[in-house]
């Protein structure tokens, strides 16, 4: 099963990207294409999720949604506590990193869905709605922690506007609403583009992600062993706990595994932008290296199979 994940074109493309960067190849996706692919991927998962949502009864959706919201509020607190107590980070940097680990990485979500589907059991189709629910609260909570006691250089209203109107939320929520409004039939003509092309586009996207992540690797020494360990252990803790809790909301094992992957993942699109504005004193090297250089690679290779194995074991 691990081999199934590691031998998928998506993961190997990520590895190829890392290798290309390490041998100092000139291979880079043009920035505008990378941005375009991220728009495509976010809109596609929004649309597909919305179409599924349109045929999901509210009572089925309510439990997982409430759980996701709760996890979005709690995980930044647990991450913050660990970073402060065990990691001895100052308040600002701890809050900055916590915002990332509370929020969610859409690409990790996508890879998890692809993995579960490849393993034979498609997770619930409405999960993208949970990604949207998970994205914002954690950032708000973490910033609130940072702003409670002291005056700060940045503005936290500015920052919230940044997340709420940011590309990820607009495309996810917008896509969900569109998909939900049009329903399966009217979505049909757009399917070859948004569904058929999806996996391949993801391969190209992860190729560039590998190049970007490799750029973070050289900072591993700067961030020190604690943050490296944090970037692996924290996701495992958050992920397994979420898988376990998900079982009580009626989510299928595949769905629980994907939710685990989501909660365990660290944001590297929405959160960095928001944190940069609200907490400019925080050091980007910490939060970018841990979320992008450690947690993301860990999750897409080893984490997702782990959450999936745990979910199926729980269900058995």
């Amino acid at each position: 099963m691990l081999a199934d994940n590691l031998l998928s074109p998506v993961i190997l493309a990520f590895v190829l990207g890392v290798v290309a960067a390490l041998v100092r190849s000139d291979l880079r996706l043009p920035e505008s294409l990378f941005k375009g692919l991220s728009i495509y991927l976010l809109l596609a998962i929004g649309l597909k999720g919305g179409v599924e949502l349109s045929r999901t009864p509210l009572e089925v959706f309510a439990g997982p949604a409430a759980l996701t919201l709760g996890l979005g509020l709690v995980t930044p607190l647990s991450a913050y506590a660990v970073l402060r107590r065990l990691g001895r980070f100052d308040r600002v940097n701890a809050a900055a990193i916590a915002a990332h680990y509370g929020s969610v990485s859409a690409v990790t979500f996508i890879v998890a869905v692809a993995f579960a589907t490849g393993a034979g059991t498609a997770p619930e189709g409405y999960l993208p709605a949970l990604v949207a629910i998970l994205e914002v609260p954690a950032i708000a909570v973490a910033l609130m922690i940072a702003f409670t006691r002291e005056k700060r250089a940045g503005s936290w209203q500015d920052s919230l506007h940044e997340v709420l109107t940011g590309r990820s939320i607009v495309l996810l929520v917008g896509g969900l609403l569109i998909g939900w409004a049009v329903g399966p039939d009217r979505f049909e003509p757009a399917k070859p583009f948004f569904v058929g092309g999806f996996q391949g586009a993801l391969v190209l996207f992860l190729l560039e992600m590998g190049i970007v992540a490799a750029g973070r690797l050289r900072d591993l020494r700067t961030v020190g062993p604690f943050l490296i360990g944090f970037g692996i252990v924290m996701p495992i803790v958050h992920g397994l706990a979420s898988v376990w809790l998900a079982g009580f909301t009626g989510l299928s094992p595949a769905g629980a595994a994907v939710l685990g992957a989501m909660v365990s993942s660290a944001s590297y699109i929405a959160a960095p932008a928001a944190v940069r504005i609200a907490l400019p004193e925080a050091n980007p090297t910490y939060y970018l290296t841990s979320s992008l250089g450690i947690t993301f690679p860990f999750n897409v290779t080893l984490g997702i199979p782990l959450y999936y194995a745990f979910a199926t074991w729980l269900a058995a």
């Binding site: 920035e31 991220s38 750029g215 699109i269 504005i277």
Partner: protein
């Protein structure tokens, strides 16, 4: 040809500050600006969102007082925590009164 000597203020900074700095220079009296995409390296290596795009390069032609005001405000507000560089040059502008 009648020309005016104005100040060309060039700012290179992280993309995330673009909107904020454009509001700042407009508030200080700049009548216009020109933006180009840039990348760069200085004392701060890392950018908040690598795919938000790289840096932004802002040029604005202004009178000397406006130039001073812009430079002072940016230095005070952004030098400490953000990657930003500002420099000022002279430039001869035709019908430069328009930009004063």
């Amino acid at each position: 040809m009648h020309t005016t000597t104005l100040k060309l203020v060039t700012i290179v900074t992280e993309r995330i500050l673009e909107d904020r700095l454009l509001r700042l220079i407009t508030a200080k009296g700049a009548k216009g600006y020109t933006l180009t995409q840039a990348t760069g390296k200085g004392s701060r290596g890392v950018r908040a969102s690598e795919w938000e795009g790289p840096d932004t390069r802002i040029e604005t032609l202004v009178g000397p007082d406006v130039a001073d005001a812009i430079v002072a405000e940016i230095a005070g507000k952004y030098f400490e925590h953000y990657a930003v560089i500002v420099f000022v040059q002279d430039a001869e502008v035709v019908r430069g009164e328009k930009y004063l």
